[in-house]
Symmetry: C2
Subunit: 463 residues, 2 copies
């Protein structure tokens, strides 16, 4: 956030706390709805009410579309029914749907009743689509013209709809039944004779998305084909709305956050509130589940240690490299799973590529493991003796180094392959691959690493 | 990727391998440049040459802008100088700059010489901006009109530039010196009398970005304010170009990939090639550094184990929970660092928030640690005895459970705070916070966890 903006936000926050109406209005004049939403989020409940009163219904309508979903219900609640109607009537339909999805079922019905018949119907039909589908995300306020119009008729038609249209970057051409048959650009209207038939100007729209498709699919389509707008259609190819590039940015940011958080063993949906404004209880709930599950899983490594007690107590020096062997597996497994999960998220990998991934990561793991094993073997065989550690009689540091090195190589190789294949396996059984990320893999290969280390060491050192 | 598309891509690939020119052309007709670029990337070098020949200079020009940077030089090399000129002259200037940034210095000069004087000058001036700045990313082919024009003059002016203009979503108004003074929408031109002065129609452009600013800043601005285009200006506020929302999508995806990979201990820039097409040597180089550094760091944990030999050998049962205590710290530290790093990436956290973050994570860590510690204490005190493990005489399982529980609580609390604060500390000393993510924190708290566990256990069990 730019310094200047942070500065104004601070001043505005102070003015709110002092309940200084004039100053609040003065500072807020320079702020855009997303900035005002940040300010709103930072405040305590009473100050929020003061701020929304100060801004007035008209400005607060734009702010409401930007505040985190958990705060929407309280924000609306505070207004009188006629103000609520004013807010809900004047807000763009995609934002209205978002807002209504954030309130309780009972409240939603009340709010819907406030709307005029036409808005009520269109809102109800949008609410049928899930929040994370293309239909749930689209805006329906777009430029549409009929194929049989002339340029002049199209311009006149659009002029009457101008106010309620979010973007004219693309104007869609439909037939009488509402079916999408192509698109024109506003420039085609501006720079062509008025009697030109639209039919002669239209170009095919090659990319469309079904209203029931996942919103991420729409965002990926916009990203791949560098589009600013993608039309959303129903099964009969009727044009319902569009998803714009700024929607796509939001969708992709949400999905990235989700993947990153899942990858760290944080469950549930990311809060729309900022990190600091999210309640401790929410953080707690999202983190404890995995922490507990992984703790139970980690006891398996403890059981391995108990089983191999005789190896460790015979040559206690083995414990010097035990945490390292174990950790190297977690680290390389985490790297491999991250690469594979990201490649899947970007649509680069299909389940059919499993064999190619396994072969690639096997060679990578063997290479990384051999080099790392060699380095560690040198340390174990030649540097460790200089510290005169306690060892049994006839102990060979060269054999010790070789054992540690081989264990490292084996652990890194297997962990790399496990790390790469588990996310693919998860997707095969319809689990979200991001869930099987670093922490789960680390805990798993902790146990396998100990088994490898103790077996290699006991075999080579004759324990 | 949709099935239909994958299907055509497969057929096209087969046709290329059979060197069947007609079929290649037939299948490629249905493919868009980004799809053709995917196909190109999948092929071996000779097949690539065949494909680019089959497509012809005109179509391949659009494909070239989409292929991974590492393949650009070879792709261009293969054409004759006059074809190279044709490609470089006809490609949009931002793509031309991207391509020239991907080739060697010597080749770049050769290619620049091929261009006409005007294009050469404008390209050279764009090349001055770093690849990751707003200036290096912008397109200069935009609609610009002078404030003193009328609507008619503006339309005529834009008409002549229509072909070379990427977007007319926003038309910028400049003064004689090139300074940005506002914007109009194409609809303002289309729906207003021809003699209206532009000056009366323009609205302020409140958001601009400096050409030298980081491209991520531009993308975040587009995302925050739901913009489709942001103008790029120099220090004197002269309009240089624009960054569009589809650029922002690309920038944000690249940055997310970078953050995710850094968070898993993968160094260097992400390859533009897909995971499977990236060479093993590249993967190896990006992964080995951290793997090696973390392995050395992990020996610290081994040293701790050696130091506390007497504790472990006295009550070997302690090893049952050792991996769990250690891992719980890594897991909770990883969760905390992920939340904080993501919050910083989204611009939600400033270094001044350190105390608030520390206090929040301390309470969270204490809460998570106490609950987890209690669960584990119950297991240690009441379930473990049922397995009749070997223990010294007079051993109290209740004390043992209490010791394990307290160690878990202490380890989770400290690791959570460490995990949250290290990334903030990294940013304070101008390091990329994403680098200090899960693997580094895990390795660090491995060692501290062992110290905590052994000290608590030896104190409470009197060892």
């Amino acid at each position: 956030m730019a310094e200047e903006l942070a500065n104004i936000l601070n001043k505005a926050e102070e003015a709110v706390h002092q309940r200084n109406l004039d100053q609040v209005r003065q500072f807020c004049q320079d702020l855009h709805p997303p900035d005002l939403a940040s300010l709103y989020e930072e405040l305590d409940p009473e100050s929020r009410t003061f701020l929304s009163d100060s801004l007035g219904v008209e400005i607060f309508t734009d702010v409401l579309a930007e505040i985190p979903d958990t705060l929407v219900e309280d924000a609306l609640d505070h207004f009188e029914p006629d103000e609520q109607r004013e807010i809900l009537e004047s807000i763009p339909d995609d934002d209205r749907v978002d807002i209504l999805q954030d309130v309780s079922d009972k409240k939603r019905d009340n709010y819907l009743e406030l709307l005029g018949d036409e808005k009520q119907d269109s809102t109800r039909s949008l609410l049928r689509y899930g929040e994370e589908t293309a239909g749930g995300r689209m805006t329906t306020q777009i430029g549409k013209v009929l194929a049989q119009m002339t340029v002049k008729e199209a311009i006149d038609h659009l002029r009457t709809e101008l106010e309620s249209t979010e973007t004219l970057a693309r104007i869609y051409v439909i037939d009488q039944s509402g079916k999408l048959i192509g698109k024109i650009r506003l420039r085609d209207l501006a720079f062509n004779p008025w009697d030109t038939p639209i039919r002669e100007l239209l170009t095919d729209e090659e990319h469309t998305i079904l209203a029931t498709a996942d919103q991420e699919e729409a965002a990926n389509m916009l990203a791949r084909y560098d589009m600013l707008v993608v039309p959303v259609v129903d099964e009969s190819d009727r044009l319902l709305g569009v998803i714009t590039a700024d929607d796509a940015i939001e969708i992709l940011a949400e999905e990235s956050t989700e993947d990153i958080e899942k990858g760290a063993g944080i469950s549930g949906d990311a809060s729309e509130q900022t990190y600091l404004n999210t309640e401790i209880a929410t953080h707690f709930k999202r983190r404890f589940g995995w922490l507990f599950a992984l703790a139970l899983l980690a006891i398996a490594s403890g059981v391995v240690m108990i089983r191999f007690e005789h190896v460790l107590t015979n040559v206690y020096l083995l414990s010097l490299f035990l945490p390292m062997v174990v950790a190297a597996g977690g680290n390389t497994g985490g790297q491999a799973s991250t690469m594979v999960i990201r490649a899947m998220a970007l649509g680069e990998l299909d389940p059919e590529d499993t064999a190619r991934v396994a072969w690639k990561e096997f060679r990578l793991g063997a290479g990384l493991g051999s080099l790392l094993g060699l380095c560690i073997a040198v340390i174990a065989a030649f540097i460790v003796p200089a510290f005169h550690p306690e060892v049994p009689r006839d102990f060979s540091f060269i054999t010790f180094g070789a054992a540690v090195g081989i264990a490292v190589a084996a652990q890194v190789t297997t962990s790399t392959v496990i790390g790469a294949l588990l996310p693919i396996g998860a997707r095969r059984i319809k689990l979200d691959p991001a869930v099987i990320a670093a922490p789960a893999i680390t805990t798993l290969v902790d146990a396998s690493g100990m088994v490898i280390y103790f077996i290699v060491a006991s075999f080579m050192l004759g324990l």
